[in-house]
Symmetry: C2
Subunit: 206 residues, 2 copies
């Protein structure tokens, strides 16, 4: 039996380091030169690996930006998992909305902030982001349906989840349209929750 060390398969450590180097290089370059102006060759060079190697880590340029699982999705799934016995489905979602700190979270990491910015300006990134969102939404709907087997079938769960996330997305879009660079993330989040909350109010307790 091995003593106890085994901190990490060693080989994997290196892999993780390269991966992160690519992400860091990309984020830096995207930020400095712009997404479209940055070529994959540039990124690989900055990360000190061969260009071909990039594709050993990410399937495409966009993919790199969406490689970490979204914290907001995790938080929402968490909210569902820890629901109160008598809490209604929509209330769970409303609670998640308030807890999650949608944008704040996004703004936290440089990657998140950049993703938000590129999502507004680069079509390819926006498309990818929307796809990721739709997938996350489906996953949330599944968990919601599973949590309320007696009340919600898959279709209803999807519809409700879609309504919630759709409202949030649309609101976020308009708010971002107004002030591209929210000066105060906390305040921004407050406004977002307030507006969305209001729009979704008819659902409280449903």
């Amino acid at each position: 039996m091995a003593p106890a060390p085994a901190p990490a398969p060693l080989r994997d450590r290196k892999r993780a380091r390269t991966r992160q180097a690519l992400i860091d290089a990309a984020v830096t370059l995207f930020d400095r030169d712009g997404y479209e102006q940055t070529t994959i060759a540039d990124i690989a060079a900055a990360a000190e690996v061969g260009a071909r190697t990039f594709f050993n880590y990410f399937a495409s340029k966009e993919d790199l930006l969406f490689s970490e699982s979204d914290a907001r999705v995790r938080a929402t799934l968490d909210a569902i998992a820890t629901r109160e016995p008598h809490e209604a489905p929509t209330d769970v979602l409303l609670r998640a909305l308030r807890d999650v700190g949608a944008v704040s979270d996004e703004m936290a990491s440089p990657q998140g902030a950049l993703r938000l910015k590129l999502g507004r300006t680069v079509p390819a990134v926006r498309g990818r982001a929307l796809q990721a969102q739709l997938d996350a939404q489906r996953e949330i709907a599944r968990q919601l349906a599973a949590a309320y087997p007696d009340t919600l079938d898959e279709v209803s769960a999807a519809a409700v989840t879609g309504a919630f996330i759709g409202a949030i997305t649309a609101t976020l879009q308009v708010l971002l349209e107004r002030s591209a660079e929210p000066e105060d993330p906390a305040e921004f989040h407050r406004v977002l929750v307030e507006a969305t909350d209001l729009a979704l109010a008819p659902w409280a307790g449903k």
Copy 2:
């Protein structure tokens, strides 16, 4: 003064014909060989124009699929324009939902049906479709806000519209997941409206 003919600037007629030829060629080939297997050179060849010419008509391969303005969006804007004096915003949207015949319409033209299919299978197309939807949504929200200057500000209008379209999209997604090829479009539409209606019910009269 010219008698009265001038049915169309003649030159434009030809342009329209070429455009349509490209669309037809593309739809046929996409359907026969698959979207990714069909190259722009193939499409141009089938339409009997030079490959470079393709880009005189469409900015990209995806664009060709989304070149006609969406009938559903037009119908929704119409529903808003023709609202009853005392009809609530959400009721207008609910009415539009019932009238529009979301999928039925889509299934009507070969282009629409193909778009629906490709939207489920080709990432690039899906991304483009979602972007188009978000844009349409914003436009609808604008008109809605304009129609209810006293009740809705831009943010609320966006939130409500987002919730509606989000619910419809999510429902549609699940239904399509179940039966890739709806045998009966009419029945399919009925189920879609019913499910979405139910999910959006809390909003009636709001």
